[in-house]
Subunit: 173 residues, 2 copies
């Protein structure tokens, strides 16, 4: 049985899950940047990596405020998400299709973080940890903005390149 | 190497991932409902189960439109997410803390779906599959509403019950 007795415990566990997730993402983003074809997508992955470094630092600040060591807790879901991203990195596909698959994987990762940060922000509110609320909300806003940027990039993918490569799609379904 | 050559292929793969995810969620929701303490949370899980049945049917309609059999593709990330939800179900915790952990798990699942449906909606737009766009957007809106409902439930959790059970939180961090 787990030792999650209190909301404070649960808050810490969720922070550790996010800390692990962010550090895993930090390792994966350069590979995603390299695999991307579109210059805009490469830039988006690169800028998100820089942003992720800030997110890690914010979590470290919160751990410090709570007087606990900054440590991660392996998260099965994030391992699965990043394993899938790596499959997309290795896939052979037309350039725009490849980019579409990388965006799909990245948005799943973003939404994992949006859910996770939304949760810890709400827990911090309930616990009255106001400094933490502010830091977590900043990260949450940035993750949301990244997700919207990725949606815009997906919508702007070069349709002609994909339709030319698409031997099944007939545009009428 | 995978056989994702075209955006149509990728669209199908993503639909199969969601079809598997929805069916897994359908099995997990009754357990989450049973483990929840608050009546409102039980109702939310129950109503989301009914909604999920509709989401499965919509995916089946789309598979039919595309002339392919409705089948799922095992998704490592969703397996991880639901394994974590099951850990929360088994955890011993004060009732409000337990509910908080169930909401945290459910929101991660919701956001996985929001990311997934956002992706397939955008792909369907690019491919000109207009009927599919409409069905996927309906589900996307419902997943978003469920996520907001869960946030509201988390914010309304009985703080006193959690603070009383909380031997570490001092409300000043």
């Amino acid at each position: 049985m787990s030792k999650i007795d209190t909301l404070h415990d649960l808050f810490l566990e969720e922070l550790r899950d996010l800390y692990h997730a962010e550090n895993q993402i930090l390792k994966a983003l350069p590979e995603m940047e390299e695999a991307a074809h579109s210059a805009d997508l490469k830039i988006a992955f690169n800028e998100h990596r820089l942003q992720t470094e800030t997110h890690v630092q914010r979590l470290e600040t919160i751990f410090q405020t709570l007087d606990v060591p900054a440590k991660g807790k392996t998260c099965k879901a994030m391992k699965g998400l990043l394993a899938e991203a790596k499959e997309h990195i290795k896939e052979k596909a037309a350039s725009a299709v490849k980019d579409a698959s990388l965006i799909a994987a990245a948005q799943r990762v973003e939404h994992y973080e949006i859910a996770g940060y939304g949760t810890v922000r709400t827990f911090a509110q309930l616990l009255g940890y106001n400094e933490s609320v502010e830091l977590l909300q900043q990260t949450l806003n940035e993750e949301g903005a990244t997700d919207q940027r990725l949606t815009a990039l997906a919508q702007g993918l070069n349709l002609e390149a994909m339709v030319a490569a698409d031997s099944f799609g007939n545009g009428s379904r």
